[in-house]
Amino acid sequence: MKSCLCRIVATLPLAGLAWMVLPVAAATRAPDPDPSSQMHSNAEALHVLNRMGYGPTPGEVQAVAREGVDVWINQQLDPQAIPDPAVDAALAHLGTLNLPCTRIVEAFREEAQIRRERNRQAGLAGKGVRKAGPRPLDPPEALVADAFAQLQDAKLIRAVLSNRQLNEVLVDFWFNHFNIDARKDLDRATIESYERDTIRPHIWGSFRDLLGATAHSPAMLVYLDNWKSSRVFPLRRGRRVVQRGINENYGRELMELHTVGVDAGYTQADVISVARCFTGWTIDPRDGEFRYNARWHDEGDKVVMGVRIPAYGGIDDGERVLDLLASSPATAHHLALELCERFIADHPPQSAVDRVASVFLSTHGDLPSVYRCLFTSPEFLDLKYAGAKSKSPFEFIASALRATGASVVPVIPDPTPQGPEQRPGFAMRQTAFSMLFQMGQQPYTWEPPTGFSENSSRWITSGALVQRFNFSLAYAAGRFRDARPNYAELLHGARRSSTDSVIAALDASMLGGTLSPATRTVLERQTVRPAHSRQPVPALPRILALILGSPDFQRR
């Protein structure tokens, strides 16, 4: 794509605050003169910004504390009402982001065709295809690769720049709940549409609709193999006869991961029944769209968790299973637990889980009501849980970029790469985003259907910490192509010659004033003496790196 050669810079001049100056309905509170009360409201603001979003931008803790944490929570619960100009501007340059799915599927198929032809030519010429060396991407290959690279860029842009922070966190949560992997066959070409058309439009509606959207999505049908699942019958392929049959993969994960959970008491017979209900839910491989193939559907009688699904239900069998599972109390509990794990603590208090589950049940899975219950619950707001979770690699990088007012520059791949390893979508783009790969959490390519673990202790391992130190050092020194700290904004109003003043400014912006004494002691001795001066000055990139790598900044 020609347009891909451009570099887009979207700086963040207080973008996170821009909407805060809009008149808000709630009464503006006068600044509280009591310092301990001020500290408390700052800590509260930091907590909600860390949990309902990817952490504060410079000045945001104080702004949210001033306006009131409850005001901010209410605004986040209505994302459509929040203007998001920085994201709109940055994404406008990502040309493939709104391409129809069929267009990318088409390119994916053309690419396969070109590869077959290249293999054939190589076979005739007696040369190895792998020896061809660096070559420009074929146009369809480039389109598929660009679409995937831009999906990744957009994820970081949105997490860092969006004013609709809760919306972005929830997209991440639900994508992870209904995980797919871009490396599985056609999902390479449908994953963009999966996030855009399947997840995003449904996370503020009912759970049943979200579940239905994933069940019908080509990406999920391919990822969990349901597109191949059919009633048992012999199929003639030339002279060979292939026995077709059901594939249980989707049926199992639908129950275990997407809805009722592994301990809901279903049996292997239930898994088979569910799989039979979804036989014939497949895709048209030509355009990658959902198709119901009645010839493949098992029209027999089925029983799912004690409920009879009568014979000859056709496509409605699957819909009935989704109704049944979405309305089960086990599903309400399973999802409440997962939400509380993400947003409250790795081992969340039972009271919160029960309350969220009961709202889920009483509202028939109305997600905005569920979110409101969760984010206004006393447990969520209890500062006992502030900092109780460790950041995942993505949360760590996104929060580092936000905390430092970063510019985010999508690094669009060079159309004539050095070799296959530097193809777009691959790790080594020397970007902040690429560090996610080494930290073990590259978005969109996580194979297990479980998604990434919501238990945050999984992410804090010894290998991971060393990666985080080195990310912090490289980032503070401005070594990434896609994002650099904005020191001018970060130190606005601070005396750059004073170590105390610099530390105070960074503490206020990045940690809402919660810097620990142990970290502070080390920061205070970080000075350098410039060549033409006798006076030591704060060693700036280094102080920032030490804060980013500190235990303080690993918590949320």
């Binding site: 490396r183 066959d185 790790a427 080594m428 020397q430 391992t461 290998g463 142990a518 235990p551």
Partner: protein, 435 residues
């Protein structure tokens, strides 16, 4: 499952990208490495002399019929008119290296000949996953999870094996389980102590920075993490610095292999060189994991020379260097090689091979009862092939893994169901390569 497209195939053959990733980390800080003598390392918390298991995954599905040639099977030459490896008795250049009159090594595996002769290399042919998937994605996942088809199994077989190994928890090393990869392989998923490090030389604070600068930064981070809070983040910090200290003693950047062992350049050679170094340093390594890619030879895979031959040469040179480098230490070490499936018995229209079924696995090391080809040969006659096209499987890969777990790592037979759930195996089913 259809054969993958180029992009998805490259995704599967992850190793190249991982290698680049590791190079990149160093490049962020410029040239030069931290010297080993900068700090007095803390006393080692480990003990030496442990049994070590090294797993090597040939990602992309290696053609077992070219790697270990069944030259005694008359159908082999019929199926592969352009890419067959000549029989040892043909006297042609590039013919197979005879093992037992029926099988022979690909000529590019010549560096392994003497190890086989010394009885420290065993071949297990016609091995694999009896589940018939031909998807790289699913088959790699199943093999690393240690299951034939159970997608619900979340952890890796090596992590379950380590959990079942007799252990002295007071002496567990921070380097007990190590993958030489950027991302944790599925095989070790679920082991919280496992480390994934593509290049040990980069497992330090500010790799590549000036030593004095890196040293002062490390001191600062150490001090920040030193406060006695005792939570998960601080204990991960403790472990990080313990591992850094261990590796500083090891000093991977300045390693000299012994006895003239020469590892091939490239990430696989580097992985084995660093694993050898850790074993020799007695840092408590018990399980190591490495990848080597480039086996998905759909077009023009070549015969005695060519694409596949180049990959096999790098593979065998690295293994032979590892064997030579470790010398007497090899008595504690078992290397297993594996691949997700084999390739079609017949060559395709592009002088390559497509996704198949059974393939050959190697076991190398002092404990191996080598110099033999294990496994029942199913034959290559049309009616002997799996689905009329592929080498059939006569040994389940889990029997191969289980023998290593029991006879080498000390897992009890009673614990085997934990390592391989819903799979019944016992000594009677073991291939027998460990006696």
């Amino acid at each position: 499952m259809k054969s993958p497209t180029p992009v998805s195939r490259r995704f599967f053959l992850r190793q190249g990208a991982l290698a680049f990733a590791s190079i990149g980390a160093g490049a962020l800080f410029g040239p030069g490495f931290l010297r080993s003598s900068l700090f007095a390392a803390e006393p080692l918390r480990t003990k030496g002399g442990k049994r070590v298991l090294v797993c090597i995954f040939q990602r992309g599905a290696v053609d077992g019929l070219s790697m270990v040639v069944p030259h005694g099977d008359p159908h082999y030459y019929r199926l592969r008119s352009d890419i067959a490896i000549a029989t040892p008795t043909s006297g042609k250049p590039g013919s197979a290296i005879d093992l037992d009159g029926t099988f022979g090594l690909h000529p590019a595996l010549a560096p392994l000949r003497d190890i086989y002769g010394a009885g420290e290399l065993a071949v297990l042919h016609a091995c694999g996953n009896p589940n018939g998937t031909r998807s790289h994605f699913d088959a790699q996942d199943f093999m690393e999870a240690g299951t034939d088809h159970d997608k619900a199994l979340r952890s890796g077989w090596l992590s379950r094996m380590l959990a079942s190994c007799p252990e002295d928890s007071a002496h567990l090393s921070p380097l007990r389980a190590l993958a030489m990869t950027g991302q944790m392989p599925r095989s070790l998923e679920g082991d919280p102590s496992a480390l994934a490090i593509a290049d040990l030389a980069h497992f330090q604070v500010a790799p590549g920075a000036r030593p004095a600068y890196a040293e002062s930064l490390e001191t600062d981070f150490r001090q920040i993490y030193a406060s006695s809070q005792g939570d998960a983040i601080h204990s991960a910090g403790d472990n990080s610095f313990a591992a850094i200290d261990l590796l500083r003693k090891v000093d991977p950047a300045h390693y000299r292999p012994t006895d003239g062992a020469t590892y091939p350049t490239g990430p696989f050679g580097r992985s084995l060189r660093q694993i050898a170094q850790l074993i020799k340093s007695d840092v408590g390594l018990e399980v190591a994991f490495a990848n080597i890619g480039g086996w998905d030879t759909h077009a023009n895979q070549g015969g005695a020379e060519g694409q596949l031959s180049d990959r096999l040469r790098e593979f065998s040179q690295a293994l032979a260097a590892f064997h030579r480098d470790l010398g007497a230490k090899m008595s504690d070490v078992l290397v297993l090689t594996m691949s997700e499936f084999g390739r079609t018995a017949h060559q395709n229209g592009n002088r390559g091979t497509d996704h198949g079924h059974g393939t050959a696995f190697f076991a190398l090391g002092g404990p191996v009862r080598g110099g033999r080809v294990y496994g029942r040969w199913p034959g290559l006659a049309p009616d002997q092939l799996y689905q009329n096209r592929d080498l059939a499987i006569t040994t389940d890969f889990r029997d191969f893994f289980a023998e290593a777990a029991v006879r080498h790592m000390g897992v009890t037979s009673g614990d085997l169901p934990k390592v391989f759930p819903e799979f019944r195996t016992d000594a009677a089913r073991f291939p027998g390569f460990l006696g």
